[in-house]
Symmetry: D2
Subunit: 340 residues, 4 copies
């Protein structure tokens, strides 16, 4: 049975997901599109023969929309997700689930009141082959209890619209989610260390930043976020356990030897790095819906935790202090509804 | 527009492609299945709601079959491919295109008489990301004119039914195709060197073998085929040019450090190694058909060349001599109909 | 001209250096030995035909001692180094130069009063091929201005006598020196983060520890010290600059593929890791002395800086606070007397 | 006791070994030098305070020459080695031991008549850490019985004086020796395959060449010799056994990431690649002599085998045929006098 998807937000990422649901993922069809920019909405819809809706509310209500994909501007996410829940329709929401902890909690309450999981949040790294191998190694006990994680998240450059807060809210948030999942643990505090700033940036932007986290179990995480590193898009992650370590591989690329150098290409955009993860993410989401199952990807609880921790990171940077995350206890509803 | 595919041969590889066309490739639907084993045919068809046909001829003739996929036993390939051409239907044929050069030539003649490419042969390595990068590096001139290629094709083990000839016909044939494509060159001679045989094999099987090829341009290829290497499925390829070299990467896998060892997993089956290549192969095939284009993958000419060279390899081994391949000249029809 | 060396302290490291000066470094001869354990002194001296002295003072005064090597217990270093300076004899002192900043300052004053460099401190990493390559890359400008350094210093295990303070004083001190040299910068503050402790340790020992440093230029360093990591002796260092990074290589070791694994050996002791560095260190020291030059290795100033920073690290851990190092300004005498 | 060495031949390699024996290897002193070029002889001797001799005969006879080092032009080696044996003095001869099998046999006979090993041949790869690790892995049984070895020997370029024969006699000879030692086996046949020649060479030179060898045990070796590969000095060696393989590592070098590339340096000269091997080779040679032991490095038998096989390789190339090596049986004298 084909899952008919309505897409709210036809910007760059929305268009990419529309293409993915149409060309790459079987069992799905994009039947409805809406965007605050009507022309963009028309264009995106036309390419796949979808209907255009005036706004998210109408789209969610439409009969031929079985599931909703929210890829609009972050601050609008909560409203659309809550509408979808109110309509009893499954909703895939790109990160963040909501920009405030309060809105995330509202979503969780609505979903619990509904009684079944409807929400999945778009943290695609859990679907990356490397992270999945890493989780397998950790779970197998081969490296012992995890004690530390060293990470780096580097982009070649960002547009001028990128702000200092976004290093936590848009960039580090991916590590925040995937580390919670890898470690099966919650983050209790955040600290931010500010190295000398790169000269290859906008005046308004503080880059790089080093984020330090502590988990309930006492695991320590250090995460370098460097979004103007120039040389490439480079994701590093190393988990050190009591008797071994596991490290994410660099993407496979041919080894070339010329003029005294052995070299391999470093990717320069994240699309190439995570394209298979995105495909798997949507393939699994659609497969779950098509078979009538609840989604198994990142839940509203995961969305809440990511928002709380990334907001705490911003506060830690601004205050220069260690900030406790002060998360609510996890409701039983979410305890067993996570990806394996 | 959905491409309706009829599948001839529902063995292991046929079933895997049926699953692929159903679950992984958009725009395709398996509508017809036939197999010499009626029960197997029924079961494979039932899983995807396809119709069962008594034989290949009926299946090819069926109205709701737009394109044919031949995954039956090798010696039957030529007959089915010729039938498909006679019906003017596109046909994807797993290797070999035919077991004899004569049959390959007949297929080429039929296709040329038809006037449009209908045939694609299932050499999936051309769709592997690593080989594609390697081709790009060679084409860019970064390593200069290619002079030598060193390859290894290793399987952990093979079943008892695997014969000494199959090292050339079933195993080396993948390198024969991908090297012709990588180098844009044809193979003119074959020699086989027989190392001391592994003791971890069947009495009847000569394993490993080293195949030596020379191309029109004078490039020399050495290819180790070792199908009982025990340790893993391992594909190596290094092209050495006048001022540099390019080497296929090992698949990316997490780096684990424990007890005095740094280790990464080596795959133990070829499915994992080439799964993305298979997906891309079929995605591109279906996309071409859906848009009314000729297939752009390996052509009947490529199938002919692979059969000629792999047969010459068998003869070289049996005779202990260098065997010239004696290929016909390439018809103009095939000169520009190859994958970019 | 052979340099006649008197060795104060014939413990493990003293004996190793006696062997090195005898068997591996040309132009040197060990002529005198002393140790608080008379039997050990006798034994070490007998193996190389050296004379035994009752204490450091007598040894330093001996006519056939051209240069002094101090490898005794840390708290005794300052006394011997000061005696050597008083006698106008070159002295190589294993780290630490002295356990207190005050004693280091006294040594610097004595040396400056003497008017020529006599002191070299035993930080061998500056002689390691990998660190030297890294310094070359940084100095060349290939990666731009350094912004961050990520390090790990892991030992498989330590004896029960190893204390929590030693993580800074004995272990991190190597990174403290080599990073000052790599970055041509001084450390201004230290912070210590304490991950969940490994269960594979003694009750009294806090392990691992993460040390965070800031330099005058604002470079941020994070250093994992984990001395019971079980799996091996593993030294990692990555310097991230404004437009690139440089990372220390793992030691070269054969790649072995067996049973689904590709593996290389990880060293399990530091001797193997730095044996060539030790050899080069002493070869260069002896070559300088033999040609009448001042030593060019780590100076008393470097010894002072290392002691100040490692002591600040201990204080930071004990207090849970960021501790400023409060170093004196570098005397002009030491400004140009450093290794190139 | 210091070993006093007389050096015959003060060309580039002779001078390098004089420097090595003086500066790097303890327990040795170069006391005598001779060269056909008197000025060169004078200069080399003056630098280390050695005496100049008119010819090899006089040098060998000198009282203060305990051991002889032959680094003169290849065709003169046999004469000097025979003179040294006649004088009962240990002699280290750079490869080749002699240019003909006959001369090698004469040397073996003379040495056997003397009754003790005096001769060591300068095949330094046996002292390389990577090859030693490889031998250890093979001997341990971890990869099972060796079946194949794949090698490459690449130089960036060679001077115009380098001839096509030298690819076997001067270049491949290193692999011939080290593989005999690694495999504990003898080579019984040689074949040469000639790829398209590189355009970046002299007209007179056939480059690259691929040499194929078979051993007594049936192991097959393929060796690419490419002495104008432009990009670097690159030594590759992979031994494939019945259930695993072992591969020589690339030399350790820092990993640099800039502008979309991850790169490590490839060496461009062999000195850097084998400097530690040369040092160890001479250190072990001197240590054996100093303690009155026979040399344990490559023997006259090894020199004979290398000459026979490299000459057979030249003949194979010229004839275009597989050439049997036709080696004499190994005398018992040499059976147990090989390096461990």
């Amino acid at each position: 049975m084909t899952v008919r998807v309505g897409v709210i937000g036809a910007g760059w990422i929305g268009q990419d997901h529309i293409r993915r649901l149409t060309e790459t993922v079987t069992g799905a069809q994009v039947t409805a599109v809406t965007d605050i920019d009507a022309a963009r909405s028309q264009e995106a819809a036309a390419q796949v023969g979808a209907e255009v809706f005036a706004d998210g509310g109408e789209l969610i209500a439409a009969d031929d929309v079985d599931a909703v994909l929210v890829t609009s501007w972050g601050p609008t996410h909560a409203e659309h997700v809550l509408s979808a829940i109110a309509s009893g329709k499954p909703v895939f929401c790109e990160k963040p689930l909501a920009t405030t902890a309060e809105d995330c909690l509202k979503i969780m309450e609505a979903e619990m009141a509904h009684g079944r999981r409807l929400v999945q949040v778009g943290f695609m790294r859990r679907y990356d082959a490397g992270y999945r191998q890493m989780k397998q190694v950790i779970s197998s006990g081969r490296i012992g209890e995890p004690l530390m994680v060293h990470c780096a998240h580097r982009n070649p450059s960002v547009p001028e619209s990128y702000t200092t807060d976004m290093a936590a809210l848009d960039t580090a948030v991916h590590e925040i989610d995937v580390l919670r999942w890898l470690l099966d643990d919650e983050i209790v505090s955040a600290q931010v260390v500010l190295p000398r700033a790169t000269s290859k940036r906008y005046e308004h932007l503080r880059d790089p930043q080093i984020m330090l986290y502590e988990t309930v179990k006492g695991i320590r995480i250090d995460l370098e976020v460097f979004v103007n590193c120039q040389y490439g898009y480079d994701i590093q992650c190393e988990t050190v356990g009591e008797h071994g370590l596991v490290r994410l591989p660099d993407p496979a690329a041919v080894d070339v030897r010329t003029t005294g150098q052995r070299s391999t290409e470093v990717l320069t955009d994240w699309v190439g790095r995570f394209v298979h993860a995105f495909d798997t993410e949507f393939r699994e989401w659609i497969a779950n819906l098509a078979t009538g199952n609840e989604p198994t990807g990142p839940s509203a609880w995961d969305g809440y935790a990511a928002t709380v921790v990334s907001n705490a990171t911003v506060e830690a940077r601004k205050s220069g202090r260690i900030v406790l995350t002060d998360m609510k206890p996890r409701p039983a509803f979410y305890a067993t509804r996570d990806i394996a």
